[in-house]
């Protein structure tokens, strides 16, 4: 009898603990065969906010200068607790999502990529359209804010620097071998061959982190989006395929990654983003495909290069075509709808948009500011980057389906970088790369339907 009672007691404890652990709201428990659309998580318009918080929690992959945080505290009395986790696309994203899932106290977050339209549309971040300080940004930036959120006329994010991709290079090496700054893909390839002929490895890349390979990918992707703003809708409707002969031909540009071509320093897939710059410093390569944000790792390395650094736009165009470059705002900051300090979060983002603060930010990060009238004086290869920004921008691609819903291509996103790594490992030809890309798109189309 007692034995039974003891067992019963244990079962009750187990059940109580089990029920206690399950804190989810009621869900549809009717099994279905396919995923259904999830209902909106929270209604951010009715959220109460704390009046005078002592601090806000700010999680970001892009560290803000302490000077700015100190000034904000002096002005408002609110401390910004900055939690920096580098590598926005992977480590940071995983850490942030884990903390958001765990319900950690977070107020302001950084985001890029697919999270930007996603968080805007599902109410994860609050709307900022009517904030008076939004007018501090340049009109082009505001337009871009809406475009990246896929929400015409509305803003959910702030971005304080404009970014583009390009190629950093060792000017001294170029001068030594009389190489002109390439403006087209053919000139770029000729520059690589000249360097190689003189015993210099032309390129370096941090493929271990995977995302840096996206820079090379843009040489292939930019022209597709430049001349067809509806490239993604066309891809999803089957009108265009990665296996189309002209696209396969364009993908041949990625053959620079073939190990047999010897264009890259050995160890492309075991070299991390910051190690790539170390190899540039050691003059083991002459060029590095990287965005304007590469200046950050240069400063953080605490080693001054003993050569002059320059930059040129990504060589996406062919001979006879004008150069073009993607302009993007990828370092987005938003206020979480689940925060209890929404007003303080907005106040902080607004503070960052003040011209004097934006100047500190731009000078510190050596970037081009998105705040009207703010110019950085410290940007590495600043004139080169200004020239790159002056090139025709690649139009913001349309990623909406005929019903106005944002296309999601998770399989494509999942496979793309891995496939690029296979090219760099010498295990995949560019033609096979196109076939595999198309397979991933076919899967996305199937799932989208």
């Amino acid at each position: 009898m007692l034995k039974r009672t003891a067992i019963l007691l244990m079962v009750i404890i187990l059940l109580v603990a089990f029920v206690g652990c399950n804190t989810k709201d009621a869900t549809t428990d009717k099994p279905t065969d396919a995923p259904k659309e999830t209902t909106k998580a929270t209604d951010n318009t009715t959220k109460d906010t704390m009046d005078n918080p002592e601090y806000i929690n700010f999680m970001t992959p892009w560290e803000l200068p302490q000077e700015i945080l100190d000034k904000f505290k002096d002005e408002t009395g609110i401390e910004v607790k900055q939690d920096v986790v580098p590598n926005s696309g992977q480590d940071y994203r995983q850490a942030r999502n884990a903390r958001m899932a765990a319900g950690s106290e977070l107020d302001v977050i950084g985001a890029d990529g697919a999270d930007v339209p996603d968080f805007a549309s599902n109410g994860t971040v609050v709307e900022l359209t009517d904030e008076p300080w939004m007018s501090n940004f340049t009109p082009a930036t505001l337009e871009k804010f809406s475009a990246i959120s896929q929400s015409p006329g509305k803003q959910f994010w702030t971005v304080y620097e404009a970014l583009t991709v390009g190629v950093w290079y060792n000017k001294d090496m170029f001068a030594e071998y009389n190489i002109e700054k390439p403006t087209t893909y053919d000139e770029f390839l000729a520059a690589c061959d000249t360097l190689k002929a003189n015993g210099i490895t032309p390129l370096v890349q941090g493929g271990k982190d995977q995302w840096p390979l996206d820079q090379e990918f843009s040489m292939f992707m930019n022209p597709l989006q430049m001349y067809n703003v509806n490239f993604f809708p066309d891809l999803m409707s089957g009108k265009v395929k990665f296996t189309d002969p002209d696209i396969v031909k364009l993908a041949e540009r990625l053959q620079i990654l073939y190990p047999s071509n010897g264009y890259y320093v050995a160890g492309i897939l075991s070299t991390s983003y910051d190690q790539a710059w170390q190899l540039m410093l050691q003059k083991k390569a002459a060029m590095w495909f990287m965005g304007s944000w590469g200046s950050e790792v240069m400063v953080k390395s605490n080693v001054e290069a003993d050569f002059e650094i320059g930059a040129f736009g990504i060589p996406s165009s062919n001979a006879g075509q004008d150069g073009f470059t993607p302009h993007f705002l990828s370092r987005n900051f938003g206020v979480l709808a689940t925060s209890e300090k929404i007003d303080a979060g907005k106040q902080f983002l607004g503070f960052m948009a003040q011209p004097d603060i934006a100047k500190i930010y731009a000078d510190n990060g050596m970037t081009i500011s998105t705040v009207d009238g703010v110019v950085s004086e410290t940007m590495i290869a600043g004139d080169d980057w200004k020239a790159i920004f002056a090139r025709t921008p690649v139009p913001e691609p349309n990623i909406l389906d005929p019903n106005g819903k944002v296309y999601t291509t998770p399989e494509f996103g999942k496979q793309k970088l891995g496939l690029l790594a296979l090219i760099a490992a010498g295990d995949l030809t560019t033609e096979e790369f196109c076939t595999e890309l198309q397979k991933s798109i076919d899967l996305d189309i199937e799932n989208w339907k």
């Binding site: 244990m10 989810k24 259904k36 999830t38 994203r93 999502n97 075991s270 760099a424």
Partner: protein
């Protein structure tokens, strides 16, 4: 009353451990199984039950089968190499001399280090461009070896991971074998010597069978630890090159936090849990059968 106390005492003694174990292991495991049947993204308050959809997707996923292959390749190599090193170290360092005591501590130190730190150390040591190993080969004129990209070449990357794990945990394995070696009666060796057995015969006929309980335990610990391997490949190769070192645990982490598909991540975790249970049972059963009791 006395009788009552006698009957309930054992249950009361195990109750705290039972509650602790249940609440932090058993219930989360059940919860994980439940989530694996949903499309929860890990953030939203709501989700839908989608039957076995996540499992069906996983079974169709090439990355999953690749991760299974990678994980088991690493598991087999680690078990074989680590146990060999562990037994070898234990036999060599068995005698209680001052030098051996020092060496035992030295070999044990790596297992006290944080695995992320170990991963970082090896990621620099094995770097093709400025790693100590390649520089060493370069300095002694072995150019072919000096040009190997240990972490960036799919042929070597999993070996790099295996050797890192072996380096870290061989000392720990050897400690368990040392304990088993101490229990072997010296008389057995003496009579064996009188019979004219060679050192190899002594090891193979006496030492090895009598340390088999330690072998079972070591293999089990290594099996469980390596099947859920995450940190070393995450730091050392980030699953690369081209997914050549992406383990099941990395895949579930990627699905859950990178692709915000907690349902699928939970399904991955459930499969991983099932694999661990099945293989642990099979391995323990098989090795126990071979054990020799004195």
């Amino acid at each position: 009353m006395q009788k009552l106390r006698k009957i309930t005492a054992p249950y009361m003694l195990i109750l705290p451990a039972f509650i602790l174990y249940t609440s932090i292991m058993f219930i989360p495991a059940l919860e994980n199984i439940r989530i694996s049947f949903t499309n929860w993204d890990g953030l939203s308050q709501t989700y839908d039950y989608i039957s076995y959809h996540n499992y069906a997707q996983i079974m169709k996923d090439q990355d999953f089968w690749n991760a299974i292959f990678v994980t088991f390749k690493i598991v087999i190599l680690v078990i074989l190499i680590q146990q060999t090193f562990g037994i070898l170290l234990a036999v060599i360092l068995e005698k209680n001399t001052r030098k051996n005591v020092f060496l035992r501590s030295l070999f044990f130190i790596p297992c006290l280090l944080n695995t992320v730190v170990v991963g970082l150390i090896f990621s620099y040591a094995l770097n093709v461009n400025f790693g100590i190993l390649n520089n060493f080969f370069n300095n002694i004129g072995l150019q072919k070896l000096a040009s190997i990209d240990w972490l960036g070449d799919a042929r070597y990357a999993s070996w790099a991971i295996v050797m890192t794990i072996v380096w870290q945990y061989s000392g720990y394995s050897s400690l368990l074998y040392l304990g088993a070696l101490k229990d072997i009666p010296k008389e057995l060796y003496e009579s064996c010597e009188l019979d004219g057995a060679s050192p190899w015969q002594r090891f193979w006929k006496i030492t090895f069978p009598l340390i088999s309980p330690a072998l079972t335990l070591n293999c089990l610990i290594t099996l469980i630890g390596t099947i859920r391997l995450f940190d070393i490949p995450f730091v050392l190769t980030n699953g690369g090159p081209a997914k050549a070192t992406q383990t099941i645990a990395m895949l579930l982490y990627r699905d859950t936090f990178h692709y915000r598909n907690a349902g699928r991540g939970a399904a991955n975790a459930t499969i991983l849990m099932a694999i661990i249970i099945v293989f642990s049972v099979i391995q323990t059963w098989y090795l126990r059968k071979r054990e020799v009791n004195m």
